[in-house]
Symmetry: none
Subunit: 230 residues, 4 copies
DNA sequence: AATGAATGAGATTTCATTCAT
DNA sequence: GATGAATGAAATCTCATTCAT
């Protein structure tokens, strides 16, 4: 029992090692340009060994992506409190995003991979069904949608707007900005301007879906200063 | 005289044929996956012949992209009237977009190619300078920015918003949706839902950048019905 | 009659034009790297036209080579006087070589082409018979051999030496130096050092084949100064 | 332990196999005309496999060349004795040359490759610096130069002659003859006449650079007969 | 007579994947 | 379980030569 457990643990560790190396390379060079040999070399394994842990390149990438998405969702859920208002939830969502974007770079991985694996998502959901790996994307989408719909109930957002669609827009924009930001060196990426830009976009969207007459100052997202205070 | 003219015309037609075949393949499989041999086969030419018309793959793709962008800009400028209000101009912009999106698929090409040639644009403009081929993207960005700034002057939009950034957001979103939409079969793509979705996005943005208190009905974009009436 | 003559003349002129262009390119880039299209462009003709005048690349090159060799032989024969001593003849040979090397670059063409067409010559004369184009090389070889043998008769050279072989050595060395020199820009090529080097080589050979006891000062070749005085 | 050693040996053998096949093809068709696919076919490997052993065509060729040059230099150094006179050293040099020319064909490879990699060498040494692969050629040149200069000190050779230049001449001639000889079938190549010819050339040069009055019989090189007796 | 257009054959190189050990 | 070695398939690009007009 002890032995088989250890073996299993070791196997899991190897898998994580491979995924971590792949992630680093993806962050450096972009998804398309990462090759199996590079990953193998970085992990100090042989190419053939990768195939013991993953049936192929595609599967490896999908798993990387899923894992990051699941982590984000958990991270967010942990910080979320059912009683909080939708606006508050959105602000927390934003903070989680910022943190994982800057620190673990998980957001970059998520969106880079999303664009590679399910480039049509969230707009082409019918195609999605063929790729079970996209489950976590769907979960993300639903979470945002739920928040936004709660915002309608609470009177912040315009009830005539389709929040499934809006959730898609938000994911798209974040995805797009992330894809761009990922090309910058890490220091630049964490600079105020990039994060400021993402905030602008998000705020414009929030204002765009708000009910007429809502006080816009409520829709403001926390800035960098407020993040550190948190 | 007549002969040389005809030859020239034929040569131009061949060039167009190649570009058309390349465009179709790009629309079908995405830019990255299109190879010179595929284009050659589709055009019923030999690989070598392509190189008579274009110095290389890169150049072929750039020309496809530029041509589409120039066409869109001209198409739009022809319909634009200097005296019209910024809101009207934006509506016309939207109509032009819709038409070229649905009919000639030029918008799809533009944005697909943009993502291939200048993936960072519009957010990483410093990288842009290395690629002179991106001139037409810049022109597009500037045109949108100008419209939005005119909207500030006319009192529609919030003067505290950076319209260069907003123009970038709009391009990004259009680019993103287009990239997605392009994966659908043509019929689906022209369906109400996709176009409706694009309209929603654009309208949300417009509302998001509008001054507080502006009558939102002014910011509405023409729907499918109105297009055909036009 | 007048017309057909003119036509023939024009045809010959075209041929010469093509050959001249090819020669210039060979001088610039080396034989292997010259392509038919380059020659055609330089001659402001189409590739296809070249094939009207020459059955193929090979034949074009052979003719260029032959023509240069014939010219050199004629040039030399005109300056040669049957009564002159063999040493004097060799010195004139050397002067002719220098002049055509520096001015018309014919020597460069001859040897570059020789190495391309009949790389084995002068050592592999049995293979040569398959290439009738090498006639002029043979003529050159024989001329040198004749001079050297006359030198034996006149008591300058060692009668135990095979002068056919020696003639081959001389051609080889000249060929080799020319091949090297041709890679230099024209100005450098005509500099004292290259010509000086060729002279050294030739003098060493002459001393090497001289009879023992011969006054070596007789074997000196004219230097640059003497050339211009001539 | 034994296993990894065997694997390493096998890998080295494969590398040697590839190089041997490449060498044979070079000997048969000349450097320019040998392609990676031909080498692969001859070695009964796939094209891709070659790239496991060599980063590219260039590198493969350079390694072939270097290896042959290094072997020759070692072969010669082993037979050389510091106390021996320069004339003796030259005779040993000649014997080494003959042996490696006839048996392993290394000399052919060296000079064929030299003409491909550093065609200007030894006359265009300024171009050489760009090609670090030419180190072994330089070493060869220096070795000959040193021998010749020792010959001046010992009173055999004319002190007014530039021995750097002369070393260049010798390399050129050997290179030239080798290039020619390599086109012959192996049996012919090893025949008396070719080797006799090379000997003649070398002897002529030695006589040409000898001091006046030196007994020419000292400058004789061992003939075929003497080689086998050795 | 001249040529624009086309092409077949071939070159180098890359990479995901397989398999014997 | 791990891997070194091998490879098939594909990509981009070049060039001498041919042929219809």
């Amino acid at each position: 029992m002890g032995i088989s457990e250890r073996k299993e643990r070791e196997k899991a560790e190897r898998k994580i090692l491979i995924m971590r190396c792949a992630k680093e390379l993806i962050l450096q060079h972009g998804v398309e340009k990462v090759s199996m040999i590079e990953i193998a070399e970085k992990a100090e394994l042989s190419k053939a060994t990768l195939y013991l842990y993953f049936p192929g390149k595609e599967a490896l990438f999908e798993e990387i992506c899923n894992e990051a998405a699941v982590r984000f969702l958990e991270y967010f859920r942990k910080r979320l409190d059912a009683e909080k208002s939708s606006i508050k939830a959105i602000q927390i969502f934003w903070l989680c995003y910022l943190e994982l974007f800057g620190e673990s770079e998980d957001m970059i991985i998520i969106f880079k991979m999303k664009n590679y694996i399910s480039p049509g998502f969230p707009f082409l959901q019918q195609e999605l069904k063929k790729q079970p790996s996209a489950d976590s994307f769907v979960a993300l989408l639903l979470m945002i949608k739920t928040m936004l719909e709660k915002g309608i109930e609470e009177g912040f957002f315009d009830p005539s707007i389709d929040m499934g669609e809006t959730a898609g827009i938000i994911i798209s924009l974040f995805s797009y900005i992330v894809e761009n930001a990922a090309r910058l060196p890490k220091e630049t990426r964490q600079s105020l301007s990039i994060i400021g830009e993402m905030r602008s976009v998000f705020e414009i969207i929030l204002r765009g879906i708000a009910r007429e007459g809502i006080d816009r100052s409520v829709l403001k997202l926390p800035g960098i200063g407020e993040i550190n205070q948190r």
